[in-house]
Structure formats: C-alpha cells, structure tokens
C-alpha cells in the first residue's frame, strides 16, 4: 500500500550510460515532482508535472528528461550520465492548488552512483 513508490532503490552505472528511474503514486494526486539530494544533503526541486503537463523546470541539464504517461506516473530518464549526477533522487506528489492541506508525499528515494 505504498503511497509513492520508486524503482530501482539503488542504481550503479558507468559514465556515459543512459538510465531511467520510475515513479508511481496511488494517492490520487495530480501533481508529481522530482527532487535531488546532493552530497551536501540539500533537497532541490528538478521538475514538476501536473496532469502530464510540465509546470516547473528548474535549471537542470538537458540530459535529464522527465516523462509523465499519466498523472500517477512520472519517470526520469538521464542520458550520458556523469560523475556529478551521483545523488539520491526523490519522487514526490501532492494535489495542485492545495499546498497547505496537501504537503508533499515523498518516495523512498533512488540512490544513483555513477562510476
């Protein structure tokens, strides 16, 4: 009955490879997010989708491409992986227009290690 689930939990890959992280939520929320926790432990927003439409796109390299096939899924595809992409990536969801009553619900994260 996991609310926000991400796969895989761990991902180890070599520089230059392309990889994807999948996220699904069963909370009925219409907005999903990707956050990145870097080595300094800050959580920073990368993207947000509302009903499959991109609404927030922070300064993220073009190698990162989110895909939302429906409002319950938001996947993250990363091309040409670099060492600096190593981080923990968190998926989250909430309900649009209700940041007070609908705080972010996070998944358990995907630890990406690029060697």
């Amino acid at each position: 009955d996991t609310a926000v689930s991400q796969t895989p939990k761990y991902l180890v890959t070599q520089m230059g490879n392309d990889k994807s992280i999948k996220c699904e939520q069963n909370l009925g929320h219409d907005t999903m997010y990707w956050y990145k926790q870097d080595s300094k432990k800050f959580l920073k927003i990368m993207f947000s989708y509302n009903n499959k439409e991109l609404i927030i796109n922070e300064t993220v390299p073009n190698r990162f491409s989110p895909k939302s096939p429906d409002k319950a899924h938001l996947n993250l595809h990363i091309n040409s992986l670099e060492l600096g992409d190593s981080a923990v990536y968190f998926c989250a969801s909430s309900q649009e227009g209700d940041r007070v009553n609908s705080p972010l619900h996070f998944g358990n994260g995907t630890r990406l290690t690029v060697t």
């Binding site: 926000v4 907005t31 997010y33 300094k40 432990k41 800050f42 959580l43 920073k44 927003i45 947000s48 509302n50 609404i55 927030i56 968190f90 989250a92 909430s94 649009e96 227009g97 209700d98 940041r99 007070v100 609908s102 705080p103 972010l104 619900h105 996070f106 998944g107 358990n108 994260g109």
Partner: protein
C-alpha cells in the same frame, strides 16, 4: 545561495527533555514553512507546517514557532523520545508557484535522542 539554513548539523538530547531545532531563511517572500522528518533509507515525511500569518502551530508533542521579523523558525519536540531520532528538514515556499509545492529545503539537522 542558501535561502533556507539549518546551521546545526546535529543535536543530541536526552529522552524526556525538549528538542529545539532551528531554521533561518533569507527570502522575505516565503509565506509557508514546513518541517519534514527523515529516517535512513526512507523519504522525508511531513511533520508540521505554519503559515506566515501565524506565529505558532502545535500538533501533539510538536510545536513550530515563526518569528518573521527575525526570519527564523524553530521546531520544539516535547518530550523527546528515542523514536524521534532522525534528520529534520526545514522547508519553505512562496506564493509565486501557484498552488504547487516548490519547496526550498535546508540541509537538515540530525537529532539523536538518547535514554
């Protein structure tokens, strides 16, 4: 440029005593503040929030205080329990992202509650 700062990376408190976690922010446009709790290998979970129109919000053992003039908020946990041992993240948002949860996070404070 860190808009949300948690200057204490760690805090150790005896069980039954009060835990006080502090957070400072620099952006005067922030109007909503949240605390998240994170256990190892899990995603952050929402704990408590406060709107800028209030100076205090209480939920059981957890109370958040907001001092807008000082751009400072704090989380009080009374009494502290061993299960409270986790990393606590302070987060803030403004009203310019619509109803979307574009949160700015601090780096977190690791709380250890010992018997």
């Amino acid at each position: 440029d860190q808009q949300v700062k948690q200057n204490s990376p760690s805090l150790s408190v005896q069980e039954g005593r009060i835990s006080i976690l502090n957070c400072d922010y620099t952006n005067s446009m922030f109007d909503y503040f949240l605390w998240y709790k994170k256990y190892p290998a899990e995603g952050p979970t929402f704990l408590i929030s406060i709107s800028s129109i209030k100076d205090k919000n209480e939920d059981g053992r957890f109370t958040v205080f907001l001092n807008k003039s000082a751009k400072h908020l704090s989380l009080h946990i009374v009494p502290s329990q061993p299960g409270d041992s986790a990393v606590y993240f302070c987060a803030a948002s403004d009203g310019f992202s619509g109803g979307y949860n574009k949160l700015i996070f601090g780096a977190g404070t690791r709380l250890a509650v010992h018997p």
